[in-house]
Symmetry: C3
Subunit: 352 residues, 3 copies
Amino acid sequence: MGTRLGDLVERFGGQLVGDPNLEVQGIAPLDSAGASHISFLSNSKLRALAAQSGAAALIVAPLDDQTVAATYEGARIVTTNPYAYFARVAQYFADLDAIVPAPGIHPSAVVHESAQVDPSAHVGPNAVIEAGAIVGAGVVIGAGCFVGRDAEIGAGTELFANVTFHAGCKIGKRGILHSGAVIGTDGFGFARENGVYIKIPQTGRVLMGDDVDIGANTTVDRGALADTVIEDGVKLDNQIQIGHNCHIGANTAMAGCVGVAGSARIGKNCTFGGAAMVLGHLEIADNVHISSGTMVSRSVLEPGQYTGFYPMAKNAEWEKSAAIVRNLNTMREKMRTLEKQIKQLTEATEQK
Amino acid sequence: MGTRLGDLVERFGGQLVGDPNLEVQGIAPLDSAGASHISFLSNSKLRALAAQSGAAALIVAPLDDQTVAATYEGARIVTTNPYAYFARVAQYFADLDAIVPAPGIHPSAVVHESAQVDPSAHVGPNAVIEAGAIVGAGVVIGAGCFVGRDAEIGAGTELFANVTFHAGCKIGKRGILHSGAVIGTDGFGFARENGVYIKIPQTGRVLMGDDVDIGANTTVDRGALADTVIEDGVKLDNQIQIGHNCHIGANTAMAGCVGVAGSARIGKNCTFGGAAMVLGHLEIADNVHISSGTMVSRSVLEPGQYTGFYPMAKNAEWEKSAAIVRNLNTMREKMRTLEKQIKQLTEATEQK
Amino acid sequence: MGTRLGDLVERFGGQLVGDPNLEVQGIAPLDSAGASHISFLSNSKLRALAAQSGAAALIVAPLDDQTVAATYEGARIVTTNPYAYFARVAQYFADLDAIVPAPGIHPSAVVHESAQVDPSAHVGPNAVIEAGAIVGAGVVIGAGCFVGRDAEIGAGTELFANVTFHAGCKIGKRGILHSGAVIGTDGFGFARENGVYIKIPQTGRVLMGDDVDIGANTTVDRGALADTVIEDGVKLDNQIQIGHNCHIGANTAMAGCVGVAGSARIGKNCTFGGAAMVLGHLEIADNVHISSGTMVSRSVLEPGQYTGFYPMAKNAEWEKSAAIVRNLNTMREKMRTLEKQIKQLTEATEQK
């Protein structure tokens, strides 16, 4: 039993060219889609592939539609953003197959009597929910998760297995916290006296908006005195570290292994490539894009793309270039000497 | 009900200028402190801000006291290290609010009968403590923690939720292990034969001193044959990796995402910026400071600050500079050619 | 009670020179081995140390045997790969001391009735195994582990405490998953529309072969539509991130803190130094070796060693060289100017 194309268009929009009663069973990429699939063309370079696709139907942009339609004989859904349309249709089919955790609290879970768990929420085996915590409607708390005292989990948010969500922290609606994520751990704050570190208590919280995704084994520190803030729609991949008192603007996305030191203030709609690092107390404007492996060591107040990593080479070549980099100062001195000599020579030649 | 300034001075020292019976409710930064707060001036550049602070009292250094006192009318506690004083006062107020976990073992915890858990210790829900482990006085074992066979947790140490502390490892007094930390995982040791890796058993331990803090999702490998050693007062932030057989000297601190490969020997009182990396078998002297994002690829035997990361630029500029870096050898050759040519020209000119 | 040298040779091969009835109690490095130990010489530079070793017996290569035998009076096992031999003997002794977890399911574990757990497997306290999962013979599931629906754990594989192994993922025989590892978390896939991210469901799996080791707190994403594949014998250290749809060839090894972005295709027998990073959709051939701290930003189709990190220096020196690197374009322009000037000068001089 499949889904009618007419139903997809009714649900997600777009203009259907073809039989609304044609049924598809799922979504597949251009090169593997068959007669029971709908596929999508989100990159004009793949027009030729799309034109020959065996898919029952294609999601295409107006820009590509004419070219594709010249040879492709299946149905088409024409829409301005085929990739977003694909995401929605893929989510639709995934939801059909999804096994939704049943509402209720597993008997092995330990839920404090003062915690408020919505009856529609699912609390998995061996999860722990402490006093005063609030767990909203339709929330899923995976096996082995810990939700600290007075924490708040907004409606529809899912915590996969083994997430740690510390006391007083909050996340809004429809968020996803992946396994091993730790929210609200103490920030790294110490005063040094006579060579010894004295811990500064970290009494702020982590406040996260709606539609926030936090990757597996990612850590977000609570604020020291004020709060760490993550606005709506922020997407963090795995293995990321966010320091205390950071502020991350709405719809900013960071790829895996990024690190952001404390009190950095990052704008909206930014992207960070994998393993990019941001030093503490910096300000990053809206719409800034940091390339992978880049160390952000100063504030970035102007939108644009910024990069800084050493280009890879065969090891022998790198050794040569690295040795010169180490002595660039010498090279510059030599060049200055050359400039002087040439100036003298030129003058001498002209005088003759 | 607040705390008398006189009581703070009695407890933490410093010279009080003002009414000892004045009460404060908490500590706050200069810019947000009000009439119920004590605040602090730890950076002389903020003198002007301090002088206008609305705080009931200020912690100031002798150096700054006179300037501040000229206009600031509240009470002052004069002390040589206001930041350390602030840390202590903040900890004092945090402790007043803290909910201390009650002594005892939660019924859902699984504690082996041969483990020795001090009656004053707290063992949280679903924690697991294996045979022969020793848990000291006042220790807190958070929910979901695992403490392996024969491990030892010193008095006053706290394991936040979901820490893994493997067999035979030890930590001293007053330590803090944050959520997701893994202590005593196998080091990465293999022999290679006919293209296949043969595991070398990792039979050493992790031995940690007093006052050691380990960040969230930080991993510390056990030694291969000998032990991995972390001395007193070491502070490790989140997402750090410490390889097998490393030795980290007292009061060394590492910021988030640092990696230290196996058998590195790091001195006392060092600091490592975020995402710094240390190759294996290196030696780092005492009082060495490694900047963020720096790859330490050779031993550092002299104290000082060391840095090595590619400077960030707008992407288009980086592409230019990176292309040249890749060909610096060519540039050097050209320069040598120029030097020769100039030498010849100079000689030719002089002969005329 | 020790082990006879004769028994070791019978078990692991090699040519024994000495008394087969001599017993050893364990294995130790050259510098600490005593009369009850067997030791090994795997690095010819340590010949002198070996020759003076107090060990009862030595594992040596044919190449080194004669030199060592000239002064060393203990027994010798001569074998072509002493380091691999050491690994096997060390594993043998470690196994003698090992406390093997007893078969059976701990009463506090939550195992779904439809999961198939081999009677010889061990399931630790508070572990959770969901519907349809298959746990093979001799498998060890540590305390607090989560094994998702329909996941498969091959015979002899061990999950240390607090591993998360998500639904539908598979690992073959004799694997090791260290604590905090997360297998099969969602990949980082979104479509962007009107400034907002729409999640692309991640419906692929993680498929891992035999003899695969995954380090502590390492994360491996499930595929988006297809699967993430890790072939036989792959060894991943701690804190590694593997993106969705990656394919890692057999017997490739990665040191700690490595990151591999989505859809990278990595060959067999590769090695990656700590904190190396690989961008998405790249192809890395077999037998490629990437140095620590290197950003792999293009495909590598030729075997060999590749490197790219900024050389560390004293901070003051780095500041100079980094400032020049930032302006290398200017330096190149100056050099071009010099070249022109010299050409003109040379012509002028020659004309005279």
